[in-house]
Structure formats: C-alpha cells, structure tokens
Assembly symmetry: C2
Homo-oligomer: 267 residues x 2
C-alpha cells in the first residue's frame, strides 16, 4: 500500500492548494479538477493528467475506482494518496468523491481551430464570472459547438468554479484565446465566418434570422455587453424577442437560447 | 435632518440583518431587498414596502434619490437613515447603492392565479438553488410568463441571492406555492392546462412540439429532475435536441430555452 500523506503542510499538498489562485495556475499551466464528472472528462484527455489525488477513505464510488484503475493501467500518472483531512484542505466540495486531478491546461491559437462549412464557434469578450463561463461551455458542448474563443481579459475557464459549472466540458471543447480583437476580426474575415452578435436593437429577430455557416456567436460581458466596435463587426445581428419589462436576460441564459437556435439552423 | 443610526447593534438594524435567514423571513413574512434595479421594482409595488434603509453617504445615484423622494411623497413608509458602516453590516454588495428596502412577501394561492386561453405559467418542483430560482424568474418575466408556481420544498424566492439573480422580478411576477402535488395536478386539470414536461426520452422534439395553451411548463430539481409521477402527468412531453456528450444542461439554461420556445409559439 502506498504511503498516505496526513499533513496539510506537506509541500506537494500546499502546491496543489495554490492552484485555487489564478496566478499559480498561469505560472504552472496547470489546474485542479474536482467532482466526479469533471475528473472523468479530464481523464478522457489521458496524457494531460499530471497528478491524481486520492483519499482512499472517501473513495466509495465504484465508477471512480474503476476509472482510476483503468487510468493508472494505461498511463504513468503519479498518484498522491492523502488522508480525508488533507483531502478536505484541497477540496471545496461538501461531499467530496475522494478523487481529484491536476491537469495541464490546453490552449489553442486561433489559427489552430479547424474551420469547415458548418463550423460553429462561440466567442466571449471580457466575460467576468467563472460560473457563467463554465455554464456557457456546458451549453456549447451540448449543442455541438466546435470551440470556444476567449477575447480580452476574461475569467479563467480553469477556475474551480468554471470547471464545476462546465461539468468538465472545459476539457473536451477546444479553447483558444486572443487578447487582440483586431487579430480576432482578421481571423473571422479570413475564414469567411458569419459573426453573430446580439443586442436589443438588432435588425433580425432570432426566430427569422438568415443563418449562414461557418459562424461564430460573439457575446460580451455580463455588465456591459459588447463594446460598439465589436457589435458593429456583426455580420448577422440578432435580437431575442422579449415581452416583459426586464432589461435583459442573464448572460448564460441568453447564450443558451442563441446557441440552441444557431445549432438548430445548422443542418 | 433625520437622525442617523451609527451602531451596528441597534435593534432595528439587527432585525433587518436577521432577514438574511430564511426562518426569520418566514416568521415575519418580510424580505430584504438590495441592488438598485431590485429596489426600484419592489417600490413599484408601493404599499408592500414596509421600511426603507438609506445611507446618505452612499446614495449618489440620482435615479435612486429621485425614486426615493417620489416614494416618500406618495407613501407613508418609514425610513431608517444609517451610517455607511451600519449599511455595510446589512449589505452583501461590493459597491452598495445606499438604498435598501424591507418588503412584504407576496404569495398567492393557486386558485388566485387568473387563467385564460393564452396563459403560460412556470412550475418549479424542489428547485434548490436560490440563484437558479431567481434566474428563472428573470427569464420568465422577460418572455411574458403569467406566474410562477413553487411546488414541494423549493428554495426561497425571497432569499437575497434569488432576488439578486431575478433583478427584482420576484416582485413583479405573481408567485403561488403549493406543497401538495395532488392539489397542483387537480388545478392543472380543472383549468384545462397543457402540462409541459422535459426529459431526454420525451416523444416530442422542442422544435416540432404541438404547443397548446393555456399551459404550464414544469421543471424539477437541479440534481434529480422531475420524479416519475410528475413526469407522467405531462400532457406535452418535450426534449431539447442535443448533440454533445454532456448529460444535461444547467437548469436555468434549459428553462430559458423552453420558456423562450413556448413564448414564441404562444400567439
């Protein structure tokens, strides 16, 4: 039996805990993954798992145990066995499954995203809330979106709250980032993408918009939406028809309605 | 000038703070409302505002000041003036607007919800997360839903997180609660409502479902969805067509897509 770490002050354990902070994630290029569904999705990316953290006292899920055994048979991943108490010092869950993973972040350059005639991407400009970000990943994966593009200074998809909200889909969807909106605009033009933007005063109702693919749906921040210059780049500007007095929908809800409608018009 | 309360231990201030806890909200029938948009919506319900809390040192919004003055001209609402520090002890906001309200909760009985030929309601069974609940209120208001029905033991719509996520729409949408699912089923039958339920194996795709009104869209809890007996009561069972591997959408996102589609088919 492997030795079990019982001190929360163990250096390896301290290093894992630091991954809760964005700066340590950026320096290391790693992230900490919790929650059974997210860990299993991360494991699907086999070679990107750098470390597994196992609390034998908590690991009662047969599925988790089986997938852990399979992973360790196939890959030479290091495994850290820890006490329940040490695990609790790493975990932010109320009912931890006893299996976490340290996973290498995966980032593409825009030029690495494959584009074909039916491609559909989602681009997010300055989205600030990691929960919203993760929820949009989850929605995008559910409707077959081909990749996510993060523009400007967005929240970190590898934040623990984003990974949780995404149900681990941050590991299965290609994700690119681009700080220059000019380079992003060039990429859209070169790849002949329909750029779909949303605003209350857009000419096309979502119900009757003339969808064309390949396309990218661009969303702005929760508080500000899209800045004028990005809004104007939209080659298909749509509005969600609403009848109430609320000024706007929650960003993740609006994204859900538009992604669903775009996916429905894709075939 | 009104006297300004400077002690966080003032009994009135302590009573207001207690409204963060559900048990005190239930005993008193009151709730605490923060955030400019939510406070303004609550003020639209004039007589239900029992107390206003004002921090003159923080109240820089002209809109807030104007609406406060208008409200006090029209209604005899008591106003508590407090120091910035006392206000901070009540507020959960980073940049508080300096105006909060204690508002009487409004609950209807099912029999009090008016039903006509085009009515659309949303019923939520055992939804647990106040943020999800509030987000669904916000979506429902945006698409002209006529009322929300809470079934079983749901989260409290008057929780501060729910009010915030709802942008105050908990104060503009009629809300009924019913602990007996039998009484709810009787109401649906008596009012001749189409009961719309959602599951992955439902016969109708959302895109092509034969909508009929009046209708109620029923959603289950985040973790469990709807129990079998409630699912079977669905007279129009729909599925959201998905192409990815994610097992499910976030509840508020799924609700957004279905409410949007129902509203679109309403005319």
């Amino acid at each position: 039996m492997q030795e079990i770490i019982t001190s929360t002050k163990n250096q390896r354990v301290k290093d894992v805990r630091k991954l809760a902070q964005r700066k340590y994630r950026e320096v290391s290029g790693l992230c900490l993954v919790e929650g059974l569904q997210s860990v299993l999705r991360a494991m699907d990316q086999g070679r990107d798992v750098e470390l597994l953290i196992v609390a034998p006292g908590l690991l009662t899920s047969e599925l988790a145990q089986r997938r852990l055994d399979e992973h360790l048979t196939q890959f030479d991943t290091e495994c850290l066995y820890v006490s329940d108490q040490v695990y609790a010092s790493i975990s932010d869950r109320d009912n931890p499954v006893g299996l976490s993973a340290v996973v290498r972040q995966s980032w593409l350059d825009l030029s690495e995203l494959p584009v074909d005639g039916t491609s559909l991407f989602v681009a997010l400009y300055e989205v600030k809330n990691p929960g919203n970000l993760g929820t949009i990943f989850r929605t995008a994966e559910s409707f077959g979106v081909d990749g996510i593009i993060l523009l400007g200074s967005t929240a970190d998809p590898y934040d623990v709250a984003s990974i949780k909200a995404s149900m681990g889909t941050v590991f299965s969807l290609p994700v690119a980032r681009e700080t220059s909106t000019q380079r992003y605009a060039d990429w859209c033009r070169e790849r002949n993408l329909t750029v779909i933007t949303t605003s209350a005063r857009a000419p096309h109702s979502l119900n009757t918009a003339p969808w064309e693919f390949p396309a990218v749906i661009l969303f702005g921040s929760e508080a500000q939406g899209l800045p004028e210059d990005l809004l104007e780049q939209g080659t298909l500007q749509v509005r969600i028809p609403m009848s109430g007095q609320a000024t706007s929908l929650n960003l993740a809800v609006a994204a859900g309605i538009i992604i669903y409608t775009a996916a429905r018009n894709r075939v």
